[in-house]
Subunit: 285 residues, 2 copies
């Protein structure tokens, strides 16, 4: 048996802002479907406890939970029951009234990492969420090294790179992609960016998106599992609630070579980037 093989599920669910009980049921049901499909790693959308389209900070604050609250505790219990790894997004109540757009990685032993989204999207900035300042976690799990980031974070290649350089073999990304029109015949650009993120680092990437509509906002439903060459392993059932499931060989992500003499990480020229970044910042750090 090749112990680098791994079955991953991306759960594209419908959620309803504010209805914590219904969201918890939807997520439980999605996890159950993933277990039935043989999944060892289950990725849930961003803000899977609360939904997304908050009216204001008061509404958000009333829905947010600490990391040891009922939503994440339920995920830990399900992870223990089914020997799963679950990565999911939730609205995290901070200690001083602030709220973070967070994602946890949990396994049978409990919460292995809690990450706070560093790049906030649109109205998230508008007195709702406090941006994170920590790097994306990369966790050694029983099935491989898993990284975590949230939605718009993925669109910053520097951020993806930090997780990849820490050795992430599979990057797990809860997302909520709003539906924007793409030209006829074109893939959503969010998916293109995921493909590039994967290929640029020879790393698997799974994005778990939302389906449906919420307070007038349509969700793209662009969930995808991408291989280390950058190609989707699951077909894009855009917009449709359902599960994406793929069995991957993580050893592909441990091999960064792309020709006899090329290595996607070894070929970097950090001394040049570092200097460029320093100049761009105009600082003498």
């Amino acid at each position: 048996m090749n112990n680098s093989m791994l079955t991953v599920a991306s759960c594209q669910v419908e959620l309803a802002v504010g209805d914590i009980a219904a969201n918890r049921r939807s997520v439980r049901s999605a996890i159950s479907e993933a277990v039935d499909g043989g999944a060892q790693v289950v990725v849930l959308p961003e803000l899977a406890n609360t939904g997304y389209m908050f009216a204001d900070l008061d509404e958000l604050r009333n829905l947010a939970e600490p990391v040891d609250g009922p939503t994440v505790s339920e995920w830990v219990a399900l992870a223990a029951e089914h020997d799963l790894i679950i990565v999911g997004g939730f609205a995290e109540a901070g200690a001083d009234g602030e709220v973070f757009n967070s994602a946890v990685l949990v396994d049978a032993s409990g919460v292995r990492a809690c990450y706070r989204k560093a790049h906030l999207w649109n109205t998230e900035k508008d007195d709702l969420f406090t941006p994170g300042t920590g790097r994306p976690p990369v966790v050694d799990t029983a099935v491989g090294r898993l990284g975590v980031m949230v939605c718009y974070d993925l669109e910053f290649p520097e951020w993806v790179r930090t997780a990849a350089l820490e050795g992430a073999e599979l990057l797990c990304c809860p997302v909520n992609w709003p539906l924007y029109p793409a030209p006829e015949g074109e893939r959503p650009i969010e998916v293109v960016k995921v493909q590039a993120a994967a290929a640029t680092n020879r790393m698997f990437v799974v994005a778990a998106d939302r389906a449906g509509r919420e307070r007038g906002q349509d969700w793209l439903g662009g969930s995808v599992i991408v291989d280390a060459d950058g190609f989707p392993l699951t077909s894009l059932g855009l917009g449709v609630a359902g599960m994406h499931l793929a069995t991957i060989d993580l050893s592909d992500a441990r091999n960064k070579t792309i020709s006899e003499l090329n290595d996607v990480h070894g070929d970097r020229r950090p001394e040049l980037y570092f200097e460029a970044e320093r100049r761009a910042r105009g600082s003498a750090h």
Copy 2:
């Protein structure tokens, strides 16, 4: 008249390693076709003077030319004759016998920039080319701010970002993409990376690739002109020699906003990347 409008040509030509005279004729003919099409900026492939599949350093060294040699001088003359900007790759003879995989940007006034490829591909490393150490140039031209990099450079988002942060509105990339199989129905991953590079920075990107076969090496022929949203403006006539032509509005690349509150450059968290890069380097710079 909107003076941010610009017609760009990507010339996907066949070249023959070692036959400088034939290559020069092919390139002249391609430039002439671009002029007939109304192009104001013409992008040529990587190593457009020499071809690519060198037997050894001796062969390469015998073919390389200084930046004021006949190939680049001819491009300057054509740029002056037709009031063009030409970006093209050439094997550059250095002062001390080293050879660089370079690209120039020339206009009617002469050579505006000469860039030496910083990320070398496969056998280029193998005693052929010396890697560059300079950043990708971004040149203020009569038609807009144009950046230049070469082929594999494009696959390093950090490098693309340096040009974008310097204000490149159109990134001009001579490339020689070897043909690798992609899964049925999938775009070549090189093109996907170009799309992501463009969308991530809201910048137009043009790649001028090779067509045909050379000493047993098939070329992808994946030339493309991509808009600031990351979508191709020209259809991919994979592998076929010919010209890609598009008229673009550079003002799209001057607007980095992608939502009411988001800006692809303004949303960066360089203080976090900088720290991550410093840790990755293990240095105290």
